[in-house]
């Protein structure tokens, strides 16, 4: 049993992949939090809590849900939008939910515009620029999601969530597997359910903000 835990960084100049540290993926009906396997409902509750605690809770939808390439993708996109709207409704005024797409995986140089997109080759730029402290990947191909999640863990203190349609992601701090539109809607229900029971982040003064 590994002692390694998948925690917000910055972890290392080049952090290890969580799989190489002995973190295992959940089985159907399960999720993981920090690399520890938990029942899916527990992961739902914790993900909702993280969204509600964050200053900038953000969803990063990838190509698999951004384009209506089949009926399921369109339904999933609607569910993602619903989750985003729910988070917006449930957070305090000082919180700033965002929905930033990862439209493709092309390496873009010299750099992407972090206001409008995130790229798997340097996802930390978008996290840093927007001061994102909690994010969820959905509809991103697994290989590209793992690249992003590991780079984010290496260089930022962002809490990462993966809503994966396949087997899940060890490199996220919290992961679901077998994502469906219904599962995403259920997460939105959890956000609504926990509204008011989670302490929002304190307001940051202008002075603190300028101090970085």
């Amino acid at each position: 049993m590994t002692q390694y835990r998948v925690l917000p960084g910055p972890e290392h100049f080049l952090p290890p992949s969580a799989a190489s540290m002995g973190i295992k993926l959940p089985n159907p009906g399960e999720g993981h939090i920090h690399g520890v396997i938990v029942p899916e409902e527990q992961a739902m509750e914790e993900a909702a809590r993280q969204f509600l605690m964050a200053r900038v809770p953000t969803i990063f939808p990838g190509p698999l849900v951004l384009w209506a390439w089949n009926e399921k993708a369109a339904k999933k996109a609607t569910a993602v939008r619903h989750l985003y709207e729910t988070i917006k409704e449930c957070v305090a005024p000082q919180q700033k939910p965002m929905l930033i797409p990862m439209p493709d995986y092309r390496p873009k140089y010299p750099k992407i515009n972090p206001e409008v997109e995130i790229n798997p080759n340097h996802p930390n730029l978008t996290i840093w620029h927007n001061k994102i402290d909690c994010c969820m990947f959905v509809g991103v191909h697994c290989h590209q999601a793992n690249l992003s999640l590991k780079i984010i863990r290496g260089g930022t203190n962002c809490f990462t969530i993966a809503m994966c349609a396949q087997a899940g992601h060890e490199d996220a701090m919290l992961s679901f597997r077998d994502a469906t539109p219904e599962k995403i809607m259920r997460l939105a229900e959890w956000v609504r359910k926990l509204k008011g029971s989670v302490k929002p982040p304190e307001v940051v003064s202008k002075k603190e903000k300028s101090a970085g």
Binding site: L25, Y105, Y109, P120, H122, C142, H143, L147, I151
Partner: protein
């Protein structure tokens, strides 16, 4: 096409797409007396392979030719001969990028000639299966069994399994696709055997029904986009990391490599389920353990029988997969052993090195006997090594190789 949706329907040859667990674990089996090459053909007949690309090199040529017959019979979507092993592996990548289930075979110098493609396959997350019928590599030329090429393959990021028998070969070709196509794995598999010993000898093999076949490959479960010409890994040479010199591109490439090896780690769970463990042990509580892979296991079994006649009890650890490496399993299996004997069909003793890196008290390990260049490994020389380790004097088996 979603894989689950076709279960129970028929392909154009009338074979029923069957849940792989049902086909491999529950379906009735019939025996056949086949060479290893014929067994490869029979496994591929049931594997719903879309594309097979062939190039002749002994000792895999016969299997490659037999699969051509399968194409003529209509069991394979496409089949052609490449210009060289290097070309074949590149063409395999092209077919896999396009979403096909791909199969090929190679051996010895062919493996080495194609080598550049193997880390490319792994990096591109292409679940191609290549049968490697291991043979000698170096000059002067040898076509005889020698497992040295496995030591190169294990650094590529591919899954590497080492079959002992034709039965292993049959089952593992089919199960191999199930492991390597899992979305959290999605890596190529080098399914190795000791050339000639397995490919050109006949053995009784229990076959699954001819009218059942694996479900087709579903490229939409791939962890990278299928046929996306704008993004890596398909788009390799324009824009991506290779053309840039900056921290971001280096860090991305490093993370990419880590992700490939993470996928090898993830294959553990699936491989254990399909192969019933990464290792197999017999008399695991014995003070002396013989740890081997491939046909060295078979020779070891006979040596163990001979030693039993002398009242010496020896256990056996058969290593099935080299990648993923069963380090923990070997550590646990050998924890009480006083002597660990590792016989190998190669000059460098790569298996012994891997085992030494995984166990404590490595002075327990005897990296011998080693034979190579096509030499056979008479069980008596294994017996001799074990007796030497026990301090029992034995006769030299000169001229018996």
């Amino acid at each position: 096409m979603e894989t689950k949706s076709v279960i129970g329907t028929q392909n154009k040859k009338g074979q029923v797409y069957t849940d792989a667990r049902v086909m491999m674990n529950e379906a009735p089996r019939t025996d056949a007396f086949f060479t290893g090459s014929e067994v490869i053909k029979e496994a591929v007949r049931r594997a719903s392979v879309d594309v097979m690309i062939a190039y002749p090199i002994t000792p895999q040529s016969e299997a490659a030719a037999l699969i051509g017959e399968l194409f003529a019979e209509g069991y394979i979507g496409d089949y052609f001969r490449g210009e060289s092993e290097f070309a074949v592996m590149g063409q395999c990548a092209g077919a896999a990028f396009g979403g096909a289930r791909v199969f090929t075979t190679t051996a010895g110098p062919g493996t080495m000639r194609a080598m550049e493609n193997f880390p490319m396959w792994a990096g591109a997350r292409l679940p191609i299966q290549v049968i490697v019928t291991c043979r000698g590599l170096n000059s002067p030329l040898s076509i005889q069994p020698d497992t040295l090429e496995i030591s190169y393959l294990i650094q590529t990021g591919m899954l590497v399994w080492h079959a002992e028998t034709a039965q292993d070969f049959y089952d593992w070709i089919l199960k191999g696709y199930m492991v390597s196509e899992e979305p959290d794995v999605h890596l190529p598999l080098a399914l190795c055997c000791d050339g000639f010993f397995v490919t050109h000898t006949k053995d009784t093999v229990m076959l699954t029904p001819t009218d059942m076949c694996l479900p087709p490959y579903d490229p939409y479960r791939s962890p990278v986009p299928c046929m996306d010409m704008e993004c890596p890994p398909v788009r390799m040479m324009r824009d991506p990391f290779v053309m840039k010199s900056n921290y971001i591109s280096y860090a991305t490439h490093a993370s990419w490599q880590q992700e490939v090896w993470a996928a090898v780690e993830r294959s553990r769970k699936h491989t254990i389920a399909w192969l019933d463990g990464l290792i197999e042990t017999e008399n695991g509580d014995a003070d002396i353990l013989l740890v081997a892979s491939g046909t060295a296991v078979s020779q070891g079994r006979e040596a163990i029988r001979l030693l039993e006649e002398d009242g010496i009890r020896v256990g056996l650890v058969k290593i099935k997969t080299i990648r993923p490496w069963p380090g923990e399993e070997i550590r646990e299996a050998t924890k009480n052993a006083k002597h660990i004997i590792v016989p190998e069909f190669n000059v460098t003793g790569w298996l012994a090195r891997e085992i030494k890196a995984s166990i404590p008290d490595t002075d327990r390990l005897v990296a011998a006997p080693h034979v190579f260049g096509g030499m056979t490994m008479p069980p008596e020389i294994i017996v001799s090594e074990i007796k030497n380790a026990l301090g029992i004097r034995t006769e030299v088996l000169a001229g018996r190789g």
